[in-house]
């Protein structure tokens, strides 16, 4: 999957490339290759670092509005400087390591976590010309790295010899393993439809418009909508966001695996959570919302990375909205939701996608039939499984943990 | 027409779908399950009729539709289905009889709480059988074949809470499995020899001249043609399924299942499968006729097995006292007739008899079922009787079936098909024994059917159940009437005067010839039938027994023979005594080895010690003892070492493996054996 030619696109579109070329142009030849890579890394760090900073602020503001209070508004104009104040506070705090703790793991956990979650940014196409690393199996890469992040949560929980932290570690393992499945299974239909595992290819597969105004995004197909929903729910769980934030359930586990962390390490965990959120949202945008494509052909003059950012921010605000709205689940409800609802639904959805791509040739009167069958395949199981899910939420029975 | 070929897969698919839906319906969904099953069978029947029409349009053509199932490395597994008069006729027969039996079961099984499951299994059974019929690939045929076996297991053991039923199901499954092993070996060998399992593949199918020609060139070391060996192996499977001697033992026990099951198994589906299989691969089976060097021809074996089975079944049926068992043994003997026909080379006659037999045997079984249903599951003919007055429809239809089976001349279908078989047998060059066996079986058949009719329907009721039995509802009697019509009318499709069936099946026009040629044989068999019926009437009809425990007149005439036949010629006991004891013998033999051979070796070594010790007496004593002690000590140590190796420690085993690997690798490396 090679990126399209840089000509025949607007100046604004090519602005990042021009900037990069100018910067590397300043360097002697041999250093340019390194500089290219370095620039990408720096760009990612800077952009998402800032994004993280302002996301914390935005989250607190939004939560404030929802809970009918102003939220931080003292530091700077509308509290815009609040995140930097927090950062300074975190940096200057003492870094406490419990005596009984396992020092190596205790130190490694946040480092590994942040490293992995940064790695996931490397395969997301942010714009028409902005794909840091283009490889053939980048979707697989994304999820492989994402799976690795679970390890560090466990390390954190284990290393800080603390009952709550250990419970949190167990829960984190159970939860992350459980939701790994629906996450991956909801991606498989997209891979099936696009016929490729590379993010660039997936985005390219969603280009174009039907009748000139309905974009060919996967979310506008029955299976795509279902997969998108499953993906977002699993993403909530994978990034330990409310209502799935059991590992750090304040009310029962103090702060879960973060209990023994303070200062900058805590900040790293915090950052990693937001990075995971951003990465998963970016992947969702890439897989389902047409990546950097503009929703309408008339709007293509706006540069692609702008469109990507808009979609990304929309999803992120969705995350925050959910957090502000929904109460936390119980651990058994959590696993039941994963195994009895999401996984079967995702499997059936895979079948739906297969049907959809098999009947790609149906036209004329068959087209409505195709839609009807797919919608039935999506809605029927949803209703049936949903009914079974809502029944029998009995008293909690914990076997382990 | 081609569209019909492509749609042929629907015929087995519909009942299969019904079975799937039946499996998913809850137990209370009785009406739904039955409705789905019957609707599916009706649809299959309609499709089969269409298929038959398009097949009869071009009788000599073999229309097939092959498709690749999946790749196996470089090879490709291909399946397919086949449309020709044979398969089409079988489809119609199976689906029609099956449909009637389904309708009958509506009434017969209404009291059973597992109604839905029953129809699910029945649909599975019918689907599997239809799959066997339409398959164009021996692999697909084998798959459906095994499905038939499975469904029969499920159905015979449907009342699994009865221990006899469970045992019978197991017996049927295992016995047929014995044959199927042979079948499978035959398939593997055939694939190895020809590289294909498709029957017709536009020149490269195993039933087509080119492949058969190549196959004919192969012979084993013993001079036996490979095609003969393969045919015999395939015949093993056929013999197992359609209850040929010596694998017939499962069939009577299969009567433990519900009566519709017995009807389905013995009339339309399971037992027909074997005969159909041989008829289907007839080009292959009969190919070795041209090889004069062949010591034995496959068809000869088939003919003799068939003859033996026909005679044996008929003889045993004479002395059975269970209504359904009599019919079961008569089925065995009729199947023997069909095999006999195949063996003497007239597969058309075999199929003709298969079709007619399907109708009148289904009729007989369903009529028996109607009797049993009315008499509250009383099956002992000694305790029945006098039902002719109470159940007129059943009586009439049963009589029709009985006459068709007995081969009463001219009006009934059984007569014509049996005539065709006997005619073919009389023209067989190899031997005349099969003909004589067939003729003898004719007498016996007429005799025991007359006996059955008299015992059940004549005279006066001999038990309270029989006394208050009354005619069943229409849902049970209507299928009987339809089947009765069929078992009369079907005969006229294949009379010598108008050989419609023969010409359609073979594809070339068979010249009609008058009834008079070969009329002597016909006269003879008519006389024989008359003799049998007369004897039966004389023994059982003139004076119907008064009470249930009155002695059987035939038993009074020849008690030893009667009891011998009544015990089914003691064949089950024979098997138990031989096969069952074989492993006991094996155990005893190894025990003997242990005791004498190895022990003998020990004794021999001891003697050696004695010999060396016998140089002089001092050394003698010490040497002898030393010899003994050291030897036994060595044995003991060896044993201890071995048992010590079984440390139960996984890692110990792993270590052993590692060391062994090192040793072997060193051998390879240093030995330089590459």
């Amino acid at each position: 999957m090679s990126l399209p030619a840089t000509t025949d696109s607007s100046l604004l579109e090519r602005a990042p490339l021009i900037l990069r070329d100018w910067l590397t142009g300043l360097l002697p030849g041999p250093a340019r290759w390194a500089a290219n890579g370095l620039i990408k890394i720096v760009a990612i760090l800077a952009v998402f670092g800032l994004l993280f900073a302002f996301l914390t602020l935005a989250e607190r503001k939004i939560l404030g509005r929802v809970q009918n209070r102003p939220g931080p508004n003292r530091t700077g104009w509308f509290g815009l400087l609040q995140p930097f104040a927090d950062g300074i506070k975190m940096l200057t705090k003492e870094d406490i390591v419990p005596r009984a703790a396992d020092p190596v793991l205790h130190f490694l956990a946040p480092v590994a976590l942040i490293a992995f979650s940064l790695l996931t940014f490397s395969v997301i196409p942010y714009g028409r010309f902005l794909l840091p690393v283009d490889m053939d199996a980048s979707v697989l890469f994304f999820f492989a790295i994402g799976a690795a992040t679970e390890l560090s949560v466990f390390m954190a929980g284990w290393s800080s010899h603390n009952k709550y932290a250990l419970f949190a570690a167990m829960r984190a393992l159970a939860q992350l393993i459980s939701y790994e499945l629906p996450l991956l299974l909801s991606v498989v239909p997209v891979v099936l439809a696009a016929g490729t595992l590379s993010t660039a290819g997936v985005v390219a597969a969603q280009s174009g418009w039907k009748w000139g105004f309905v974009p060919h995004w996967h979310v506008f197909t029955p299976w795509g909508a279902a997969a998108f929903a499953i993906f977002m729910v699993s993403a909530l769980a994978e990034s330990n966001r409310s209502p799935f934030d059991l590992p750090e359930a304040e009310s029962e586990l103090i702060a879960g695996h973060l209990t023994e962390y303070s200062g900058f390490k805590y900040a790293l965990f915090f950052m990693a959570e937001y990075f995971a959120m951003c990465a998963l949202s970016g992947m969702a945008v890439t897989l389902f919302l047409g990546g950097w494509h503009a929703p309408l052909p008339q709007l293509e003059f706006i540069p692609s990375y702008a469109w990507f950012s808009v979609k990304l921010l929309a999803l992120l605000s969705g995350f925050m909205w959910v957090r502000a709205t929904l109460p936390r689940l119980r651990i058994d409800q959590l696993t039941r939701l994963a195994w009895k609802f999401l996984v079967p639904l995702a499997l059936i959805n895979l079948g739906t996608a297969a049907f959809w791509s098999l009947t790609i040739a149906w036209a004329g009167p068959l087209q409505p039939l195709r839609w009807a069958v797919s919608l039935a395949l999506v809605a029927g199981p949803f209703l049936l499984l949903g009914r079974r899910l809502s029944t029998g939420l009995g008293p909690r029975t914990y076997r382990y943990a | 027409m081609n569209a019909m070929v492509d749609a042929l897969w629907l015929i087995p698919a519909l009942p299969l779908l019904a079975a799937g839906m039946g499996a998913l319906t809850p137990r209370r969904g009785r009406r739904f399950a039955a409705g789905v099953a019957i609707a599916a069978m009706a649809g299959a029947l309609v499709l089969s009729c269409l298929a038959l029409r398009s097949a009869l349009a071009a009788p000599s053509a073999h229309l097939f539709h092959n498709f690749r199932w999946f790749d196996l490395g470089n090879g490709v597994v291909e399946l397919g289905w086949l449309l020709d008069p044979l398969s089409a006729l079988m489809c119609v027969m199976v689906s029609l009889v099956g449909l009637l039996i389904f309708i009958f079961s509506l009434g017969y099984m209404e009291a059973d709480e597992n109604f839905a499951r029953f129809f699910c299994f029945m649909s599975l059974f019918a689907a599997a059988m239809l799959g066997v019929v339409v398959a164009n690939s021996l692999l697909l045929l084998f798959i459906s074949w095994e499905l038939v076996g499975l469904a029969s297991y499920l159905l015979i053991g449907f009342w699994f809470h009865k221990p006899e039923a469970a045992a019978a199901a197991k017996k049927a499954f295992i016995t047929t499995r014995i044959g199927d092993i042979g079948f499978l070996l035959g398939l593997v060998w055939l694939y190895d020899a020809t590289g294909s399992l498709l029957l017709y593949d536009g020149g490269s199918g195993v039933l087509e001249a080119g492949v058969l020609g190549n196959l004919g060139t192969l012979t084993l070391a013993s001079g036996l043609a490979v095609s003969t060996a393969i045919s015999l192996l395939i015949f093993c499977g056929a013999a197992g399924k359609s209850g040929q001697f010596p694998l017939h033992v499962w069939l009577p026990d299969a009567m433990e299942g519900p009566t519709p099951v017995s009807a389905l198994i013995h009339a339309a589906t399971m037992v027909a499968a074997g005969v159909f299989l041989i008829a289907r691969v007839f080009p292959l089976v009969s190919y070795d006729q041209v090889l004069t060097a062949d010591p034995v021809h496959a068809l000869t074996v088939v003919a003799f097995i068939g003859a033996i089975t026909a005679l044996l079944g008929a003889a045993i049926a004479v002395a059975q006292s269970d209504l359904k068992r009599v019919l079961a043994f008569s089925t065995i003997s009729q199947l023997g007739y069909m095999m006999l026909a195949l063996g003497v080379g007239s597969w058309v006659a075999a199929i003709f008899h298969l079709l007619t037999h399907a109708f009148f045997k289904a009729l007989l079984f369903l009529a028996a079922g109607s009797v049993i249903h009315a008499a509250h599951h009383e099956q002992d003919i000694r305790r029945l009787g006098g039902l002719g007055r109470q159940m007129r429809t059943t009586y009439a239809t049963f009589a029709v079936g009985m006459m068709a089976l007995a081969g009463v001349p001219f009006l009934f279908s059984g007569f014509w098909s049996k005539e065709a078989i006997l005619h073919a047998a009389s023209e067989w060059g190899v031997s005349r024994l099969p003909l004589y066996a067939g003729l003898a079986a004719v007498v016996l058949t007429a005799f025991y059917m007359t006996r059955l009719l008299c015992e059940v329907f004549w005279g006066s009721p001999r038990s309270p159940e029989a006394a208050q039995a009354h005619e069943n509802r229409g849902v049970i009697t209507v299928p009987l009437v339809i089947l009765a019509i069929g078992s009369v009318a079907l005969g006229f499709l294949g009379t010598p005067a108008w050989p419609w069936l023969q010409s359609k099946l073979t594809g070339e026009a068979v010249p009609p010839h008058s009834l008079l040629e070969g009329g002597g044989l016909m006269m003879l068999s008519i006389v024989l039938v008359a003799t049998g019926i007369g004897a039966g009437w004389a023994l059982y009809g003139r004076r119907v027994r008064a009470s249930a425990d009155a002695a059987d007149p035939f038993a009074a005439a020849a008690p030893g023979l009667f009891s011998f036949l009544g015990a089914r010629m003691k064949l089950d006991e024979l098997y138990a005594a031989t096969l069952g004891r074989m492993n006991t013998f094996g155990a005893a033999f190894s025990d003997f080895l242990d005791r004498w051979v190895w022990g003998g070796a020990v004794g021999f070594l001891a003697l050696l010690g004695e010999f060396t010790g016998s140089v002089n007496t001092e050394v003698d004593e010490s040497g002898l003892n030393a010899g003994f002690n050291s030897f036994s000590e060595r044995i003991r140590r060896l044993g201890r070492a071995y048992s010590g190796a079984q440390s139960g420690e996984a890692q110990g085993y792993l270590r052993t493996v590692a060391i062994a690997f090192v040793v072997l690798a060193l051998l390879v490396l240093l030995g330089g054996s590459r």
Binding site: - | G644, Q646, G648, L654
Partner: protein, 103 residues
């Protein structure tokens, strides 16, 4: 030493390490992990021969590596289940004590 030989040496050393661990440790989970390591080392050879081997089958090496990884996953699942049930029987997971099959 050619690339292929380097890779094979790599995998065989890894194999030996796994074997040693599986033999030395008494904790059954560690033994299982040693076996996993041996399996991984074996899988590496598929890739090594696919990449540097004399004959180039299009993708066979890769496909068999994928299959083998799947088998490894299944093996681990069953192995861990066995460990857990062993733990349920004898309140620890020391393998040398799980020797009730001693002859």
């Amino acid at each position: 030493m050619s690339h292929l030989q380097l890779c094979l040496a790599f995998s065989s050393v890894l194999f030996a390490v796994g074997l040693t661990g599986a033999l030395a440790r008494s904790n059954s989970i560690l033994v299982l992990l040693g076996l996993e390591l041996m399996l991984t080392a074996a899988i590496m050879n598929f890739i090594a021969f696919w990449r540097f081997g004399p004959s180039h089958a299009p993708a066979t090496g890769v496909i068999f590596a994928v299959f083998a990884i799947a088998v490894a996953a299944a093996e681990t699942a069953v192995g861990l289940a066995l460990v857990i049930s062993v733990y349920r029987h004898q309140r620890n997971i020391r393998l040398p004590e799980a020797n009730r099959l001693r002859g």
